[in-house]
């Protein structure tokens, strides 16, 4: 126990820094930002939830998952089922079971249930998929995404098919999204320093040695899979309440790749990497969008052609990965140099390294 508490003492500065960073962004936005900019920041917070959620599984297990946006889809549709006024559901989603058709829950309750649904689904499919490792596991997660997308695109009476479902109340403002992002960052932090998290990281770095030490990698992976599914399900619910419209296409390859890119650019094996990846990429995207609209400099407007932003962001990511192959954070955690509790962090040692020392 003594060692556990010292691990928290040594690493908690990371958590505090990340939370303060998120709060600072929200406060500054609220003070000076326009309404469209505020929405950009809300979107960014939801992406923090997604990427940090993704990190819980990908970062700790080392298995790249292409399927987690499927959980977002489950969460978003669950939020729609729970919160759309029953009169509207009767018309647009006639196939809903009656307990759902008549339900209209508070959005926080619905978000929690949405996360739970995603977690239960993850538990069921994860029991099978987590036996795979490496590229086979990645392909299996991708198949899961495709299956979820196909089912939600065609189950017309329950999901509205390829059409959009409308009538989801707008509840996700900047503070809700900030709360969601902080919640997921805390969950991710607690998981990575938990017994299961440490075991899984050990299994990621040295599978054979970990197994020989009595670690059941499949079990630990499943735990991480379920927890990350929960957080991404909640993120999906908040996204549904942010946009007010859900559609199966919104939860497919586009979001999958942008969130994975954010994670990789930030640094796949650290929570700070997950959060910073989102902030950095979102900032660059926003800068490029402003450039597309044109920036007025003393009478001359400088603008890049529309659509260049997508290309430019790809180039930026390539450049970042050329010079920082293990991500902007080099897979280390942000630490406060003068943190008084625990000497492990004084030299900015990565948490994984610290953990290995503990191990």
């Amino acid at each position: 126990m003594a060692k556990r508490s010292s691990l928290i003492a040594r690493t908690i500065s990371t958590l505090i820094i990340l939370i303060l960073l998120l709060i600072a962004i929200a406060v500054v936005t609220k003070l000076v930002g326009s309404r469209p900019f505020e929405r950009t920041v809300v979107e960014m917070f939801i992406r923090v939830m997604l990427v940090a959620g993704l990190y819980i599984f990908v970062g700790n297990s080392g298995v790249i998952s292409f399927g987690h946006i499927g959980f977002m889809c489950l969460g978003a549709y669950a939020a729609a089922w729970f919160t759309i006024p029953p009169a509207m559901k009767g018309v647009s989603l006639p196939g809903l079971p009656s307990f759902l058709a008549h339900a209209q829950l508070h959005f926080l309750v619905s978000a929690a249930l949405a996360g739970l649904l995603a977690a239960i689904f993850a538990l069921i499919v994860g029991r099978i998929m987590m036996r795979l490792s490496g590229i086979a596991a990645s392909i299996a997660t991708f198949a899961m995404l495709a299956v979820i997308n196909t089912v939600y695109s065609n189950w017309d009476s329950v999901t509205g098919g390829t059409g959009s479902i409308v009538g989801i109340p707008f509840n996700t403002g900047i503070w809700t999204a900030l709360g969601g992002a902080i919640l997921v960052v805390i969950i991710a932090y607690l998981y990575q320093i938990s017994r299961s998290g440490l075991a899984l990281r050990a299994g990621r770095d040295e599978a054979t040695a970990a197994a020989a030490s009595g670690i059941d990698i499949v079990r630990e992976r499943l735990i991480a899979f379920v927890i990350s599914a929960f957080t991404i399900g909640v993120a999906g619910a908040l996204y549904a309440h942010f946009l007010g419209v859900v559609n199966p296409d919104a939860f497919y390859l586009g979001v999958t790749f942008i969130t994975l890119s954010m994670l990789v650019v930030g640094g796949m094996n650290s929570l700070s990497g997950a959060v910073l990846g989102v902030i950095v990429i979102s900032t660059i995207i926003q800068l490029l969008r402003w450039l597309e609209k044109g920036i007025d400099l003393g009478g001359t407007t400088i603008a890049i052609p529309n659509g260049l932003q997508e290309i430019a962001i790809g180039l930026v990511m390539i450049v970042i990965l050329m010079f920082r192959p293990s991500g902007l954070t080099r897979n280390r955690e942000l630490v406060w140099r003068y943190w008084p509790f625990g000497k492990g962090s004084v030299n900015g040692v990565a948490v994984s390294k610290t953990i290995e020392n503990v191990r």
Partner: protein
């Protein structure tokens, strides 16, 4: 942090400039796709809308004020769409014009609705694009997809003596399903007409050989094939049907209008498309042909399909409503729009009621493609409008 702060300041400053600039004008905001695949649909209709705005401004403006246009790019992205909606609203838009498609236009339309402003879909053809899917201030300038299916069924029944229909649905989009829903609604109203078979495929299917063999297995070739599909998969479907030797008339939705794809199916014949106006220079209304010429002058190219026209219609009807209401106040304008009963426009009449802000009936020109050459042969209006209750069920 300083980076975010600078950006935020820049954004706030930009908004400030935009707000003060247009104090004495009426502002119309386009929250449409300037990039991404929706641009192909939004841009032409937006160009047509700009032509009407230009005409109004040259004729002295609206309520004595000039119409100013502000735009924001949705990037064919739903979350960006909502932002684009807010952006044009922050620039003072009294009317928010959103993407052609319901799925991509609704986030911006919902933002306008929340701000109590009128929103218009450029050319969405789903019943949701309006009151059911956005709210009481939202409209669409086009005609429902269901009307296209119903029109073609009734026209083929009356003018081509079709009795045995075959229905082939591409389940990719709500638009496709809408055409077939209208067809399904119409068919029981036609005495002796029957459905001899129906099948589905997916837009991305490379081959529809199995569907075609089921058509070929029928005891006799159907009198008409209702094909509910859209680009890009439609071309391959039509090509395969004809290559298999099926010569039956193919009746379609308006999504098949345009001659840009005809070279892929050489000498296509017996192929019918309903359109609101003809892009082929043979519209019975000379004003439409004059518009086409003007469109070419402004944009440098002919209209690529009839989906150009709703953009013109929407500015036309909205401006009329504003003139009649003598204000741009949303509720007053909506009240005037809902008084329109068969309001004549260049591209057919428009009716809005407090139940439906879309067209559940409408005059369609029928374009026949004969030996690869499309031309107008007829026009048709369905004998009764499709009831709103039936539309909502779909």
């Amino acid at each position: 942090m300083s980076r975010v702060k600078t950006l935020a300041l820049a954004a706030a400053f930009g908004t400030l400039i935009a707000q003060t600039a247009w104090a004495d004008d009426i502002v119309v905001g386009f929250a449409t796709a300037e990039s991404g695949f929706m641009q192909a649909y939004d841009k032409p209709a937006q160009d047509a809308a700009m032509i009407r705005i230009d005409e109004i401004n040259k004729a002295g403006g609206l309520l004595g004020k000039q119409i100013k246009v502000v735009t924001a790019d949705t990037k064919t992205d739903r979350a960006e769409g909502a932002k684009a909606g807010l952006e044009v609203l922050d620039k003072g838009a009294e009317l928010v014009i959103v993407s052609c498609d319901y799925d991509f236009g609704s986030p911006a339309a919902l933002a306008a609705e929340a701000a109590g402003k009128v929103s218009f879909f450029l050319c969405a053809e789903s019943i949701k694009a309006g009151i059911p899917g956005v709210g009481p201030h939202s409209f669409s300038a086009s005609v429902l997809a269901a009307v296209q299916g119903a029109t073609m069924a009734e026209w083929a029944y009356n003018k081509r003596n079709a009795r045995n229909f075959y229905r082939l649905l591409d389940t990719w989009t709500v638009y496709n399903k809408g055409i077939c829903d209208g067809f399904d609604w119409q068919l029981p109203h036609l005495k002796d007409a029957k459905l001899v078979g129906s099948d589905t495929f997916k837009n991305e299917d490379a081959s529809i050989a199995s569907q075609i063999s089921r058509i070929k297995a029928l005891p006799q070739e159907p009198d008409a094939i209702m094909l509910c599909t859209m680009m890009p998969g439609a071309v391959s479907a039509v090509k395969q049907i004809r290559a298999a030797g099926i010569k039956a008339p193919i009746i379609n939705g308006s999504g098949m209008d345009g001659s840009y794809w005809l070279s892929a199916v050489p000498d296509l014949s017996n192929f019918y498309v309903p359109v609101q106006g003809s892009i082929y220079g043979d519209d019975p209304n000379p004003a439409v042909n004059a518009f086409n010429k003007k469109y070419k002058e402004v944009t440098g190219g002919d209209p690529s399909s009839q989906y150009v026209y709703p953009g013109y219609v929407l500015i036309d009807v909205w401006a009329k409503a504003v003139e009649r209401a003598k204000t741009t106040d949303a509720d007053a304008v909506v009240a005037e729009l809902e008084k329109m009963k068969g309001e004549q426009t260049l591209f057919g009449p428009r009716t809005f009621t407090n139940e439906i802000h879309h067209q559940n009936t409408g005059r369609y020109l029928i374009v026949e493609t004969d030996k690869g050459k499309p031309h107008v042969i007829d026009q048709w209006t369905i004998s009764e409008p499709i009831p709103v209750a039936d539309l909502l069920k779909q």
